[in-house]
């Protein structure tokens, strides 16, 4: 039976160099990252190449992506949040494209690796922290002291707020990573049943219809999850950025 973990393995393609003892390699993961960047660039630049007043389908996709993310940013952060629009747009399109590419059989899913999800989440976390401090100075820490809380439970609430703030990158990254990982493992397991059952002869081939149907249904679900996780990541990014801009609850 096919190993469901095999799809997550990282293979070196060539060595880029060394940092200390650590080899820095261009891996299959790197290739898929740049592949995602290429797809997004192609979609956005190719789609807008015509600059048509009445958009073609291709151009519509580029425009829809633009408007979808810009509406999300504008509705959750407001007009002044539009300076983060390129950042949020890059995040959304990168995650969405990487997730969608991952659904294609035999491909590698960049976002199913913890370190990539952590890098994405930490990038957001640090942006919120640094921009929040730069914009509001020490007023940023008002984020941890909600208004209208009785003074005797304020210390407790503040501790909880600090912990919840610090745990944000964890939940933010693990949500994405775990969803992608679990989905792909499940898909692979059910797809593996199809091959192992059909190796059992006529009855097996007949029986393998069930896991095949399951795989098909799961693939549809995974497409939904791929979009949904990209969207959830983006929405949470917007909510966190909103805290950086308006820390006073």
């Amino acid at each position: 039976m096919a190993d469901p973990i095999h799809q997550f393995e990282i293979h070196k393609i060539f060595t880029l160099g060394h940092i200390g003892n650590q080899e820095i390699a261009f891996t299959n993961s790197s290739a898929y990252m740049f592949g995602a960047v290429a797809v997004v660039s192609l979609l956005m630049l190719g789609g807008s190449a015509g600059r048509a007043l009445i958009p073609s389908r291709f151009q519509s996709v580029a425009e829809l992506s633009f408007e979808f993310v810009s509406n999300t940013v504008r509705s959750s952060i407001g007009e002044e949040g539009m300076k983060f629009f390129p950042f949020v747009f890059s995040l959304f399109m990168f995650i969405l494209t990487a997730n969608m590419i991952g659904i294609i059989p035999y491909t590698f899913t960049v976002t199913s690796h913890l370190i990539v999800a952590v890098a994405l989440a930490l990038m957001v976390f640090l942006t919120v922290l640094l921009y929040g401090l730069y914009k509001n100075g020490l007023g940023f820490f008002k984020l941890f002291v909600p208004h209208g809380i009785p003074i005797y439970i304020l210390p407790l609430v503040t501790v909880i707020e600090v912990i919840s703030f610090l745990s944000r990158p964890v939940s933010h990254s693990v949500r994405l990573f775990a969803n992608m990982l679990a989905g792909h493992i499940t898909l692979k397991v059910f797809a593996g049943f199809v091959t192992s059952l059909s190796a059992l002869g006529a009855v097996g081939i007949f029986g393998s219809v069930l896991p095949l149907a399951m795989t098909t249904a799961l693939t549809a679900l995974e497409i939904l999850v791929a979009f949904l996780q990209a969207y959830v990541f983006t929405i949470l990014t917007c909510i966190y950025l909103n805290d950086a801009l308006h820390p006073g609850h």
């Binding site: 095999h6 789609g47 890059s90 990539v116 990038m123």
Partner: protein, 189 residues
Amino acid sequence: MAEGQGKSKGADHGTAAHTAADGGHKASFPPFESNTFASQLVSFAIAFGLLYLIVSRLALPRVGGVLAARQQVLDTDLNEAAKLKADSDAALKAYETELANARAKAQAMATEVREKLNAEQEAAKAKLEESLATKLAAAEQTIATTRATAMGNVHSIAADTASAIVERLTGISPDAGAVNAALDASVKG
């Protein structure tokens, strides 16, 4: 599972430098293989940085420009349409005003003509009545004159008759003045 291990071994071979740090033990769960983290982070930093540059410098300004241009065209067209509608409304209003004016004018003219005709008719009628009245007055005058003459004649005849009767009865010719006075008194009485 043997197949999977074989594949893992192949992978280990491919990432020899990576697994070297791992102590060469059997493949762990790939997403938790920390020796691949540095490579992924470097790739991710370069890829995401590149994407950010392309998106912020090229893609978004271009798509945003297309959308803004479309919005502008839409706004211009809508304004144009609103202006044309206002124009047509104004024209309609002007037409209605004109129509109302024309109608009022026609009515005024009709009234004027009617009044003029009425006045002419009235005048003709008045003239006719006047002439009739004049004629009537003249006729009445004639009748009165004739009657007065006749009455005067009656008076003299009565005086003559009275004188003759008195003369015949008394043999005395009465004084004309007395007869006249007596006649007048009897006429009055």
